[in-house]
């Protein structure tokens, strides 16, 4: 503990030296006239402009201000100014999210606890397309990317979003929204090079076709260097992906708009895996490339019937492939989704919808991961209805909603919620919500057998003469995990320059996944003969989590903005008395209790931006990961109207640090995040 504190002081001392040096060299600030307006008006849409009252203040776009949920929006400006080069890194600024890098291309990301490479309680969508894999239930973040410059915003909702988004949006939903093709006209080329980014680049070109249609095409190449192991040796986890895509937006009439978009990608990401074997040395550790490829095609039709009624129909196809020594997966998904909104009368605004999803996979089994059956088709039917009830005009609104779902694993699921929004005036918003949400089983939790390790014969824990193969196995009786969430939130525009958003939650979980250790049996195939010690999925754990998240946005001067985020989280898990599980309670110590982030954005002149970002993440005792403080800095300069250069330094306080441990089930060896610097050039034409 003493060492820990000294270490922390040591790190802070270095930060203070930097900060002092920085302030010393900074030119003295010039007194700036107070400015009533902090909004970048060019970020507001027509609808938002029309909603702003002339005489009162409403800094945040209405959508965020009036949501009865814990919502945070990452804007394009936030992405650009933070200097991040991937979506997971951008998510680090969101209060309540946990983002930990496992190796140079894999992440563990969740909201409000239960983190892991296959964190299964967070749903992620890109332009309405689910990128949550039903195989392990989780997101292969290494495969999910797009051209960051063309992202309009990333909306993050912590807490259950099941009513609108469906099952598995238990602890949160991330919605990555790319720009309308109209907003990406002309050319843009970017190139970056640095110590970790070995040379990445992207090109986009957008133009108008015909009378009312716009399109863009893009290509992106990403090349990330190897990280290092905790011991200091260089790992083989470099990451190379080439992707390309297009988007076409067409207004066919005054009331109809069509979108057609698609992407394809191909690449590989390195990893070092430790796999069990039945012969000496019983564990093989080796580096390899995981091959990834995929594509998708999506179309959306929106029709406005009248001011009080509109609908959207969306259809997409998605294919993903990945292959390494543990597993091969090929998956095709087809999804159709319909939504209709109408104003029933003065009090009721109704939204309802229905959807169907078909997914079929083909698994390439290996010694360590075996799916039975190795190919499966699944159907998911869903329908939802939501009523937005105005109790007192402009002041009190009640939203009641429910989603019904039918899946091939657990049958029907019912997920209702109730939300109350109180807006006494333009400066204060209070909200409360109660929701039920479920996390449906993944394919793995029903059908898989994973050989996780071999205990050698004659060792301390295995005195027999046969090797013991430890396995994790799915069970067709595995049920959905359930959550009832109670949330309270408050937003206040304290002054014209300070906005504060507080969200608190108390989550009660039941039927949480456990791995029940069974009894040993003898197995002859594959040879040689060995004992098997299985752990089978069960639902023998319940628990509570509670916490609070705070976001603050302060603009003391019209050229200087601070954005802070703080999260507190407590997890308490309880195994059933008859449970034989030995690991699932570890989730209590796999999420940080405290996280803090502070971003400073300075417009030093109309051409020069300076951004600093400091973050603190608490320790993860169950994974032996220490707390850390990280500092990123970005300086950009507009050389000409169409040419911007920037220098970004990341993780400046440490030469390297560990952020997560070995993920559960598939033993990818974790590597450390290194200090890095890169330069970037952006040319628009």
């Amino acid at each position: 503990m003493k060492f820990y504190i000294e270490n922390l002081i040591g790190r802070f001392r270095r930060f203070f030296i930097y900060a002092g040096l920085f302030l010393f060299l900074l030119p003295p600030p010039v007194h700036a006239q107070p400015d009533l307006e902090q909004i970048d008006i060019t970020e507001l849409s027509l609808e938002e402009l029309m909603e702003i009252k002339i005489t009162s203040v409403a800094k945040k776009p209405q959508k965020m201000y009036n949501a009865a949920a814990a919502i945070f929006v990452i804007t394009q400006d936030d992405i650009r100014r933070s200097g991040v080069t991937s979506i997971p890194e951008a998510l680090r600024m969101v209060p309540g999210l946990e983002v930990a890098r496992i190796d140079a291309n894999k992440w563990a990301i969740t909201s409000r606890g239960f983190n892991g490479r296959f964190a299964n309680k967070l749903l992620v969508l890109i332009d309405g397309r689910s990128v949550y894999t039903p195989l392990f239930s989780g997101v292969f973040w290494e495969m999910k990317d797009t051209m960051l410059e063309d992202v309009e915003r990333i909306e993050v909702i912590r807490g259950p979003g099941a009513t609108l988004w469906g099952a598995n949006a238990v602890n949160g939903v991330i919605n990555i929204i790319t720009k309308h093709a109209r907003e990406t006209q002309g050319g843009l080329a970017t190139a970056s090079i640095g110590t970790e980014d070995r040379g990445s680049g992207s090109v986009r070109y957008g133009a108008k076709v015909g009378d009312n249609a716009f399109f863009r095409v893009y290509a992106k190449y990403l090349n990330r260097d190897n990280a290092v192991f905790a011991g200091g040796g260089e790992a083989d986890d470099d990451w190379n992906v080439t992707r390309g895509g297009f988007r076409l937006d067409w207004e066919t009439s005054v009331n109809d708009s069509w979108t057609l978009q698609g992407d394809i990608y191909d690449g590989n990401d390195g990893q070092t895996v430790a796999l069990p074997s039945l012969t000496s040395p019983y564990l093989e550790s080796f580096a390899e490339d995981n091959e990834i490829a995929g594509g998708n095609l999506l179309t959306r039709w929106k029709r406005i019937f009248s001011k009080s009624s509109d609908m959207a129909l969306q259809i997409y196809y998605d294919r993903t492939e990945n292959k390494d020594s543990t597993l091969g997966e090929k998956r095709n998904t087809f999804d159709i989704d319909f939504q209709h909104r109408f104003i029933l009368d003065e009090r009721h605004e109704i939204m309802w919808g229905a959807g169907y999803r078909y997914t079929k996979d083909k698994i390439g089994n290996t010694f360590s991961v075996i799916y039975d059956p190795d190919s499966r088709e699944d159907n998911l039917y869903s329908a939802f209805v939501q009523d937005d009830i105005t109790l007192i005009k402009d002041q009190l609104r009640l939203t009641l909603g429910a989603k019904f779902e039918h899946n091939d694993y657990t049958g029907s699921e019912f997920q209702p919620n109730a939300r109350l929004l109180i807006t006494p005036d333009q400066r204060h918003t209070a909200w409360a919500a109660v929701s039920r949400s479920v996390r449906t089983p993944s394919r793995a939790e029903h059908d898989v057998r994973i050989n996780t390790e071999t205990v050698p014969p004659g060792s301390a824990s295995n005195p027999t003469s046969l090797p013991v193969l430890v396995t994790a196995q799915g069970d067709s009786d595995f049920e959905s995990e359930e959550l009832v969430a109670y949330e309270l939130g408050y937003r206040i525009l304290a002054t014209d320059k300070l906005f504060i958003d507080i969200a608190t939650f108390y989550n009660v979980y039941d039927n949480l996944r456990t791995l029940e250790t069974g009894s040993t049996s003898l197995e002859f195939s594959p040879a040689p003969m060995h004992l098997v010690l299985p752990s089978t999925t069960g639902n023998k754990m319940n628990g509570e989590t509670y916490g609070m998240e705070l976001a603050a946005d302060w603009r003391p001067l019209d050229w200087w903005r601070f954005q802070a985020a703080y999260s507190y989280l407590q997890i308490q898990l309880h195994l059933d008395e008859d449970s034989m599980d030995t690991i699932s309670e570890n989730a209590e110590g796999e999420s940080p209790h405290n996280q803090f982030s502070l971003r400073s954005s300075m417009d030093l002149s109309s051409d020069i931006d300076l951004d600093l970002w400091i973050r603190y993440v608490d320790e993860l005792p169950a994974l032996n990961v220490e707390s850390y403080v990280s500092l990123d800095a970005r300086l950009s300069r507009k050389l000409r109207k169409n040419l911007v250069i920037s220098v970004v330094g990341r993780n400046l306080l440490d030469s390297r640090r560990s952020e997560f441990g070995t993920p559960l089930f598939v033993s990818t060896l974790p590597t450390e995040v290194e200090r890095s610097v890169y330069g970037k050039i952006e040319w628009s034409f």
Partner: protein, 189 residues
Amino acid sequence: MLNKTPGFIVLVIFCLMLGWVQSPYAEKTASREYLIKAGFLYNFAKFVEWPEDAFPDTSVPLTLCILGEDPFGDSLKSIEGKTFMGRELAIRRYSRVRDTDKCHILFISPSEKKHLPEILDRIKDKQVLSVADMEGFAEQGGIINFVRIEDRIRLEINIDAARRAGLKISSKLLNLSIIIREGGETIRP
């Protein structure tokens, strides 16, 4: 220890760059109302399409002109220099309508109210989007008028005048606006 770290080098580079940066700019405050209107003007540039011959070549900027006293204060600074379809937005201020021939968007300041008929007459054959915030502007042949309804800004669009000027207004913008027809018909969103 410090001088070995790239972080230190980056910081020094930052600080040196800061040394020759001009001091942060101080700006006058602008009224909230005109800031919102500046936001609309920015959106007009996005949602209105000019005929091709309105731009003799690709280097010609999209020009927003203010005729008369500028009520925007510094609000227009945030939109100046933005690019639309590869064209930059330039802002010019004029006191005489005969100087406004190169304008694509012409905002007629409330200070010019009494000259409105002659201004509209002068620009009526031009490919210019006329914008104002005066009662009856759209009815008199102006294209877009800002009106204040329930403490919010709404738009009146005279689509006949827009058509005469050869301008194409996106359906998205029209959907949200009050449409004025010169036959006297008014369509509300």
